[in-house]
Amino acid sequence: MTVKKLISVACTAALATLSAGAQAQISGGVVKIGVLTDLSGTYSDLAGSGAVLATKMAVEDFIAKEKPNFKIEVVSADHQNKADIASNKAREWFEREGVDTATELVTTSVALAVMKVAKEKERIALMSGPASTPITNEQCNDVTVHYTYDTYALANGTARAVTKQGGRSWFFLTADYAFGQALEKDAAAVVTANGGKVLGSVRHPFPGSDFSSFLLKAQSSGAQVIGLANAGADTTNAIKQAAEFGITPTQSLAGLLMFITDIHSLGLRTTQGMYLTEGFYWDLNDETRAWSKRFFGVQKKMPTMVQAGQYSSVYHYLSAIKAAGTDDTKKVMTQMKKMPINDFFAKNGTIREDGRMVHDMYLMQVKKPSESKYPWDYYNVRQTIPAAEAFQPLSQSRCPLVKK
């Protein structure tokens, strides 16, 4: 046997042991991804079955491109926007069904409950849907990634743009729960920092349906801008009723959390000219269009940023497992934070020590009906907000994991 041959045999043997070792380090021999989302309630259009589809697309693409030596399974469940249902399901998944990560998790109360369970069981929580900043501040932990957007980024984008364009006085219409209050607080800070004034706010029950009383209060405040610190059906109903009561020609509305599905359901006539901040738009470039059209082919709706972010986060998670050669929570988290994210959703996205994934955000303005040339042609991109400015700086972080 020549020396050369000896070396190659040794190498093959070493590789074989390595890959066998890698395989052995996937718990249960399979990476199990749980999509815990709202499949039936008010957020089911912006997350819901579309988020499940995005997850499956990510898994298929990952298998086709990366040819991993481990199996991947996807399970999904409806958390009905209830924190107790969500944490019970997550516990069951982690304890009995060998689920490695709970993903999506729209609704702040659900997210906060599940990230505690994940920490207790040392599993990963990948959040695409929830919005509140406490996830990466007061409540932060080392097993959670907050991926797509948060209330700071939304307020920072929309409230700053509107204030700078002369909307100096604000009145907030706020959904009376953790998310709405977080959004109002973040937006109010941005308004004041940019020289604007907050005249007042009114908290409405969640979910609400008739907003006319609250809108009349906002109207009588005389504020130039009415900031809508709510989401989903609450926002669409408020916008519709503001137009009905003749509020919108004299005062302008700023939807602080709006999705493309909301614009689609309200129509351009009611929403034209509104500013909003998005982490993703299907019609940004060839890459986003290609992916979104595949998505549209199945779902018959263009993806929201939550659904696109869900794909990206799951793909990144799987890539990290492949690179680390294990699905051990600590090692995968380290790997995910080490690798930059480059796909159709994010360019040079990074996950910080507080769990916040930072990437470019976009300030959009809704097109006039006459400007819209084809279905789902809804936005003009007014500004790309670079990752470094889009999210809360680490220097302001209230997360104990951040070393200052």
Binding site: P205, S209, S220, A233, E244, G246, L266
Partner: protein, 294 residues
């Protein structure tokens, strides 16, 4: 001028908005009260039937180009017929059983109907434009009143009092009331009681659909629009006295006003104020404000 620290203009406008919401409550609770009063069925599908009315109006406009005024008649008729089929095929078998069975059946039906619509149309809902004849508004000095909202008050009050008149003052109404008191004797007098009951359920359901069409231009037409409203409407019926026709109308409007006032003085409580009143009424007058003690 201020009343308890609130500008009177704001107070006036909130009372008017309360009156608008109250008239919705009145039409919906009236339908429920009629059904309960004559059939002894607690119709949990009422919210879903309200939603169906709104969706039929939307479908008629967007798919068939049928306008609002036609839909205002056609949608209640169609949904009413749907109610008649439900009564003939399912509810009929439950009259002799405990209330609970009717409640469970209609609740199950509501979930199924809402599920089908959610599957077909998604959750974000659809927009229904205010019909042109009723677009715009009038400046009342203290508030801008959309003409459509004024129309809602007029239409619902007309329907409510028309229904009350029919039941309390006409021969048909007399048959209905007699049929519920003692159906065997009425039947012996040659009146077709089962047919009367079917008609009553259909009419109650049609009232829900009518409210749905009225609501379509105000709210996003979405599959869960009824399930949010129905709980409040049940509370209205309980406060008014189960099965009391006039009670449900008066309480509906009254509670709309109280809710409107709560939104001025303590908005966070506006979602619970109706239920607080319900608890108080049940403690003091278990049969409801207008109910006869059993």
């Amino acid at each position: 001028m201020e009343i308890f620290g609130v500008p009177s203009a704001l107070l006036g406008s909130q009372l008017l908005v309360g009156l608008i919401n109250g008239s919705f409550y009145a039409v919906l609770s009236l339908g429920l009260a009629i059904i309960f009063g004559l059939l002894n069925i607690i119709n949990f599908a009422h919210g879903a039937q309200y939603m169906m009315g709104a969706f039929i109006a939307w479908l008629a406009l967007t798919k068939l180009n049928i306008n609002y005024w036609v839909a205002l008649i056609a949608a209640p008729v169609l949904v009413g017929l749907f109610g008649v089929i439900l009564e003939r095929t399912m509810l009929r078998k439950l009259y002799k059983l405990d209330h609970l069975y009717g409640l469970l059946l209609t609740f199950g039906l509501a979930l199924i109907i809402e599920g089908i619509f959610r599957d077909q149309f998604g959750i974000s809902g659809e927009s229904y434009e205010v019909p042109e004849a009723l677009a715009g508004g009038v400046n009342l000095g203290f508030m801008f009143l959309p003409i459509y909202r004024a129309w809602v008050i007029v239409a619902s009050l007309t329907v409510c009092f028309g229904t009350w008149y029919m039941i309390e003052k006409t021969r048909l109404g007399a048959y209905l009331r007699a049929g519920t008191e003692n159906s065997q004797i009425v039947q012996a007098l040659g009146i077709n009681v089962p047919l009367l009951i079917t008609f009553t359920y259909g009419y109650g359901v049609a009232l829900a659909a009518f409210a749905g069409v009225l609501a379509a231009p105000i709210f996003q037409v979405n599959p869960l629009m009824g399930s949010n409203l129905i709980i409040v409407v049940f509370a209205v019926v309980v406060i008014g006295g189960m099965g009391s026709i006039l009670g449900s109308i008066v309480t509906g409007i009254g509670l709309g006003l109280i809710e409107g006032l709560t939104r001025v003085f303590y908005p966070e409580a506006s979602a619970v104020v109706v239920f607080v009143i319900m608890v108080i009424v049940l403690l003091l007058r278990p049969a409801g404000l207008f109910g006869k003690a059993a």
